[in-house]
Symmetry: C2
């Protein structure tokens, strides 16, 4: 009488992580999220934060953003192909569902005999608020 089921379980920790990401408009690293979760509620173990972020990312539920420092940050984004416009001061993230690279990418790939080409792009700058700090 084996309980045969390998589906994903709805744990309290995962709910907390998703909730934290969902309410923010910026991306958080595992460390940052762990810290933030420690305060509120009952906290979530660091390993659990890493595990869930990693899983959710490969399931496509959230987006992984690689910071210039090399750390990975995560954000609950809308679906479909898009890029990010990130404020390098406050971290605010704007989703860009209007991708202007497809044509360029395709053309370059052909010119150099490359196949199965993927592209990755990101814009960084100062958002309206942070840019006001003249």
């Amino acid at each position: 009488m084996p309980a045969h089921d390998q589906s994903t379980r709805r744990t309290e920790q995962r709910r907390a992580i998703l909730a934290a990401l969902g309410s923010a408009d910026r991306a958080f690293s595992a460390q940052e999220l762990h810290e933030r979760l420690r305060a509120t509620e009952h906290g979530v173990g660091l390993a659990t934060v890493y595990r869930n972020l990693g899983r959710m990312a490969e399931e496509g539920a959230i987006d992984a953003i690689l910071r210039p420092s090399g750390e990975t940050a995560y954000r609950a984004c809308g679906h479909g192909h898009h890029h990010h416009l990130i404020c390098r001061e406050c971290g605010r993230v704007v989703e860009l569902h209007d991708c202007g690279l497809s044509d360029w990418s395709r053309r370059i790939a052909a010119e150099h005999g490359f196949s199965e080409v993927e592209h990755q792009a990101e814009l960084t700058g100062l958002c309206a608020d942070c840019g006001a700090a003249a």
Copy 2:
């Protein structure tokens, strides 16, 4: 009578590092470069490899490429603004001095009230050789 000079010294190690980078068409991480240098010649200390790559990168002498894993790889590139087309199989790097993002970047920035916007983009795929491995 102090020897007042803070210029960059021409050390044997730096020459070796530059030579190794210059002969390759792919990017190397500090670890990889250290390993490669260990075989040939008299080898260079790991810390020295890190120091010099870091320095050369911020001096603009070489390019730093952030891999998806988070490690930083370096390559001796041509000057001026450009992007990279990288084979995800063999690591070959093609410099793209034809940047097709300026317009898109500018427009997006204006639309969202961002200023001082920089863009970063990279194409990955299979080069002609690696794509032949049907």
